[in-house]
Symmetry: C2
Subunit: 206 residues, 2 copies
Amino acid sequence: MGLSEKQVQILEVAEKLFAENGFDGTSVRQISKEAGINVAMISYYFGSKKKMLEALLNHRMSDFKIQLESILLKDITYPEKVDEIVAFVVMRVHKNRRTYKIINFEYSKNSRSINFEKYLQQKDENYKVIEAFVKKGQKEGFFSKKVNIPLIVPTIMGTYFHFYYNKKFHTSLHKLTNEISLDKFVRTTLTKHIQQTIKALLIYAN
Amino acid sequence: MGLSEKQVQILEVAEKLFAENGFDGTSVRQISKEAGINVAMISYYFGSKKKMLEALLNHRMSDFKIQLESILLKDITYPEKVDEIVAFVVMRVHKNRRTYKIINFEYSKNSRSINFEKYLQQKDENYKVIEAFVKKGQKEGFFSKKVNIPLIVPTIMGTYFHFYYNKKFHTSLHKLTNEISLDKFVRTTLTKHIQQTIKALLIYAN
DNA sequence: CACAAAATTAAACAATCGTTTAAATCAAAC
DNA sequence: GTTTGATTTAAACGATTGTTTAATTTTGTG
């Protein structure tokens, strides 16, 4: 699974184009042109277009070690832990938004036989950490017991992505001009909104 | 903009295939085959593949009259109104999930020149109704003033879609087998989760 | 039935798709 | 300098893409 520098550089171009135009909307010739290589190099390096996508997914998912657990070990209050977890998840999906966008679309298909094992494994690990955290908080009386735990992460990530997919709409609503102010908006306003939401849900759900 | 029965039937096939395989992942020959018509009929009826998508979007968005306002006029408490609004929005996006999926992917592109006017107009109308409702509730002291109003709808719709896009993951987690139990899950469990979330946020946000 | 308009068809169009081939270039080892 | 293997190239492959053409069938009207 070791990727050469050149392969990583090609994958970054592919990631950008796949996220922008979709997997089917991107041709291998586009990728090769933008990456400054010959078309045949894609088959040479990855085998096929499909296998190139799988290489990208595995490459991006492999960085995702569970830093969550280190947050949970900190000596801070439960609301503070929620804040840190939300901020961590939001920044992580924001950083890898392009790959997640590709996953969202390809994984929701029935047909295509792309290998999503790494993605699902990571999803499973993350869920289990969150579940343990919430149940502990419930047992200690800090969190409401009426919360649907498996739907907490979808609310965090879903809010981010629905904002991201309608970015053009929201940038005009919030008067965000360039990419930098969008980054800042995510880091501050959007993160804060999700933190408020999840804290209110966990503590006051009825 | 009046569509014949045959045109509507073709659009329904196209909607299903576009949502399943993407716009670029679906060929006009697939659509024509599944709809039992000749390929040339698509150009004949709609002009082009792209214009067919636009016809679909306009067709689906035109049903979306603002039933929200009738909810707001009811003589019920604020939390009850939130419940009804959430249930209404969730059922609406669930019913039109295929079209929304296509929109999410196509609208988030920079390149393609598809007309999203009807979608954006509807989005704008809905936002203004929600905004007025929340501000009224804030003025009357029922809702927290620390809520980011433009991000409420993304939380509602985002939670639904992140669940929907990872449907395969969640159906195994919740042990949902067929399409019917998924429908039921959306109508009951998922709706309830989002209602809890939005109520907690609006009332207790800090 | 006759006529005109609408609907439908098979076939062809050029363009593009992902992939393969075989030759050419490069780099490293001896 | 020669050899060996990896890298890179241009060209070609057949298949499929969206769209158009021109002929045919169907439909409705007088």
